[in-house]
């Protein structure tokens, strides 16, 4: 066990950030999670993790059971993929992906029996299991970061030996407006979250466990606190501030440590996991269930009955829109994720992936398309930026294609959180500029 270094006084927030006026959480925060019914077809994207895409092990016509392997991990930074229900593989081909392109996917026609596979993993007693055993289980269950990053969780649990990890942090901030999936999870299944945290701490040999939750979820904080002592977890209420759930900002808020520029959380002695990931880890270890379903917020004012749903991975978004009562007003924007960092979609057929924390519909009246004006140096982007960059001046460098100067001015540190663009009174597409510069700089570095 690593010795716990003293943690400096917690700042419980971070410098910078914004406070979106309309957080939209009231649409769904009181809606208990409802399990979605079985649909007749699932479209499971093959690559749902950062890193190497897994290798397909089924072919068209194969009958699979729920939890059967669809694809196996193809490297260390890769996770397997499992069938969300029992049925027949009707096709393997392209499907609309979350980034607007077509991506390879497995089409699974459900047989309606939803039978479990015979090869289901055996439950583990996490209190006695070896750390390596726990890590293997996390990998075999196909678990990736469910907050949005989709980074394979077992990789985060296997830091290089020269990095001393002394703290596990669970991210329950859920700072994205509109999303309440993590909130409901912490409220309804606090024990799963806490067990997941304890499992990961054991896998890492760490005793210091924090759950950071924004203070706008007092009920979830209370619920977690009732049980937290049993698992040695400290629940910490954090200031409501976007992007509090960003890894680096969360580490700072909870420990006062800064992740060095260009570094990873492990450089600050921390491993950060989303609460939903922790719950998935708990399922995998305690019941041998692979990651085949998740809680997703389906929300937006156009929907008749927005809510939180337990959905199988591979469910087309159109099914969720129907589940949420359909629309009462025509939506003009479909977003996978939250309004600050989510991706606009161009098809309702896009399926839910392991990292889809929300499906958001915006009506025409909520979408404002602006013509951008010149920067007038008001500095609102500087005050919003959680990374202390100067997005306005950077955007002017990028407009003039001065990518080397942008790199010198730390554009690579940008989180793309959108705080600058949210605040900009000149409506400059700051995030777009940052993304362009980052892509360009990476491309040049490769040459």
């Amino acid at each position: 066990m690593a010795a716990n270094k003293p943690i400096p006084p917690k700042p419980l927030s971070f410098p910078g950030g914004i406070h979106p006026a309309k957080d939209g959480k009231s649409l769904t925060e009181k809606k208990a999670v409802v399990a979605a019914p079985l649909f007749d077809r699932y479209v499971v994207q093959i690559s749902q993790n950062v890193g190497a895409p897994p290798k397909l092990v089924v072919k068209v016509g194969d009958a699979v059971k729920k939890g059967d392997l669809l694809a196996e991990a193809s490297g260390f930074v890769s996770v397997p993929l499992h069938a969300p229900t029992s049925g027949v593989i009707s096709a393997v081909g392209d499907a609309p992906g979350p980034m607007g392109t077509l991506v390879p996917a497995v089409y699974l026609d459900a047989d309606g029996r939803d039978e479990w596979t015979a090869n289901r993993m055996a439950p583990l007693d996490w209190r006695t299991a070896e750390p390596a055993e726990l890590k293997n289980r996390v990998r075999d269950a196909g678990i990736v970061g469910m907050g949005g990053a989709a980074f394979p969780t077992h990789v985060k649990l296997s830091p290089p030996p020269d990095k001393k990890i002394d703290t596990v942090i669970l991210n329950g901030a859920e700072c994205e407006p509109y999303l309440t999936a993590d909130h409901r999870l912490m409220l309804e299944q606090p024990e799963k979250v806490l067990v997941g945290a304890a499992v990961m701490a054991r896998a890492l040999g760490v005793e210091n466990i924090f759950i950071g939750v924004e203070k706008n979820k007092p009920d979830a904080i209370d619920k977690l606190n009732e049980l937290a002592g049993k698992y040695g977890v400290k629940v910490v209420g954090l200031k409501v501030q976007y992007p509090q759930g960003s890894e680096k900002q969360l580490i700072y808020a909870l420990t006062g440590r800064c992740v060095p520029e260009g570094g990873l959380p492990m450089d600050a002695g921390c491993v950060v996991q989303n609460v939903a990931t922790a719950a998935a880890v708990c399922d995998a270890v305690e019941s041998g269930v692979p990651l085949i379903e998740r809680i997703t917020t389906v929300t937006g004012t156009p929907l008749a009955a927005p809510g939180n749903f337990l959905v199988r991975i591979g469910t087309p978004v159109i099914r969720l829109v129907e589940l949420a009562g359909g629309v009462t007003e025509e939506p003009r924007k479909l977003i996978l994720g939250g309004p600050m960092m989510g991706f606009a979609q161009r098809s309702f057929e896009v399926p839910v992936a392991k990292n889809s924390s929300g499906v958001l519909l915006l009506a025409a009246s909520e979408i404002v398309q602006y013509d951008s004006a010149g920067c007038m140096r008001c500095g609102m982007c500087l005050r919003g930026c959680p990374m202390h960059l100067s997005p306005g001046p950077l955007s002017m460098l990028i407009e003039n294609e001065k990518f080397d100067l942008a790199a010198q001015n730390h554009v690579m540190d940008c989180l793309e959180c959108g705080a600058c663009a949210y605040a900009c009174p000149a409506h400059r597409p700051l995030v777009q500029h940052m993304r362009r510069a980052k892509a360009e700089i990476r491309k040049r570095a490769k040459k």
């Binding site: 060095p260 359909g326 939506p331 479909l334 404002v368 007038m376």
Partner: protein, 352 residues
């Protein structure tokens, strides 16, 4: 694909709007900010019209109109769309310039000022956001140097003029009077150097506070300027560091000089309540385009403004130094911003 849900159709893929995140916005805009600042200046403008009468209203309207016209003509000549006029920044420049002019400025000076501000102060640099100097101040200082007589002909307020002891021939602003007293008083003339006593009575301070004194159209009423300035600070439209540090620096500097050499300059409170300090500190030094973006940059900027204002007021040949100090510090803004550039979160100093 358009399936029926509650009889409302889902749009097909082509009808969905695609855009980069973030998908929500603060709904703040340049136009809204400019309009709010204009509204915040209305108390000062109203006070000017109240104390100096209808000619002051004429100066305001004419200057404002000439600024907007100057910008429109520039866009027309440059064959550019007129749409940026909608951001109201030219109107704001016009209003600020008017508030900096004497209440009885001749009409042609107002028009000239409007064109100077927009053309020379702003558009030659590329328009809003690119001008290094506050356009209204560029115009005011250019007029002051080119047409000193028109820019230093002060009008008494209606209340002063009704006073039986009033003498028009020696009329001057309080700062002007202080400068005259300084030059006419013999070095050891009055006991304890209290030559400024008549300018620093309770009555005089009350008049400075409400605005019953000579001066530029919109600079006289401390009350009206404080209302607008504090409103802007509360709305976070100006960086509070600038007015606070500016005013505090002037107070401490002039107070210290007065303490050690009472004959040199009137007391600190006199300096704070007269001249264009409040107008400059709240509405001109805080111009977004020409002030630093960083917090510490604002502090340095405002400190510099305060020091230069005092130096000019106490030792300079002009009685007032607010305009010059802001323009000078405007020129240093790029340097200040560079000095105060933020370090990214988690910045590690590179090993040499």
């Amino acid at each position: 694909m358009s399936e029926n849900c509650n009889n409302v159709k889902l749009p097909s893929g082509d009808e969905l709007i695609l855009s980069s995140s973030p998908h929500i916005h603060d709904n703040q805009s340049v136009r809204k900010i400019m309009l709010k600042v204009i509204v915040a200046l209305l108390p000062a403008a109203a006070a000017g019209v109240f104390f100096f009468g209808l000619p002051a209203a004429g100066v305001i309207l004419l200057t404002l109109a000439s600024c907007v016209a100057a910008e429109a003509i520039w866009f027309f000549l440059a064959k550019r769309p007129l749409s940026p006029l909608g951001d109201c920044s030219a109107a704001l420049t016009g209003l600020i310039l008017a508030l900096n002019l004497p209440p009885a400025t001749p009409w042609w000076v107002c028009v000239l000022g409007g064109f100077l501000a927009i053309w020379v102060g702003k558009q030659v640099f590329g328009g809003l956001g690119h001008n290094p100097f506050n356009p209204a101040l560029v115009a005011r200082v250019a007029l002051l140097i080119a047409l000193p007589a028109a820019l230093t002909t002060w009008t008494p307020t209606g209340i002063e003029a009704a006073d039986s002891e009033f003498e028009l021939s020696t009329y001057a602003t309080p700062l002007g009077k202080a400068a005259m007293l300084k030059t006419t008083a013999t070095p050891h003339g009055s006991a304890h150097g209290d030559i400024y006593a008549e300018l620093a009575t309770d009555d005089a301070y009350w008049n400075y506070f409400i605005g019953n004194r000579g001066g530029s159209l919109g600079e006289t009423s401390c009350l009206a300027l404080l209302i607008g300035g504090i409103a802007l600070m509360l709305m976070k439209l100006i960086k509070w560091q600038i007015p606070l540090v500016f005013i505090a620096t002037v107070g401490v500097f002039s107070g210290a000089v007065h303490f050690f050499a009472p004959a040199m300059t009137p007391p600190a409170l006199f300096h704070l309540m007269t001249g264009g300090l409040l107008l400059g500190a709240f509405f001109m030094a805080t111009d977004m385009v020409t002030s630093p973006m960083t917090t510490w940059g604002c502090v340095i900027f405002a400190f510099g403004c305060g020091v230069i204002t005092c130096v000019i007021r106490i030792w300079g040949s002009y009685p007032e130094g607010v305009s010059f100090s802001i323009l000078f510090m405007n020129a240093l803004v790029p340097l200040i911003d560079r000095m105060c550039q933020l370090r990214p979160f988690g910045y590690v100093r590179k090993k040499a």
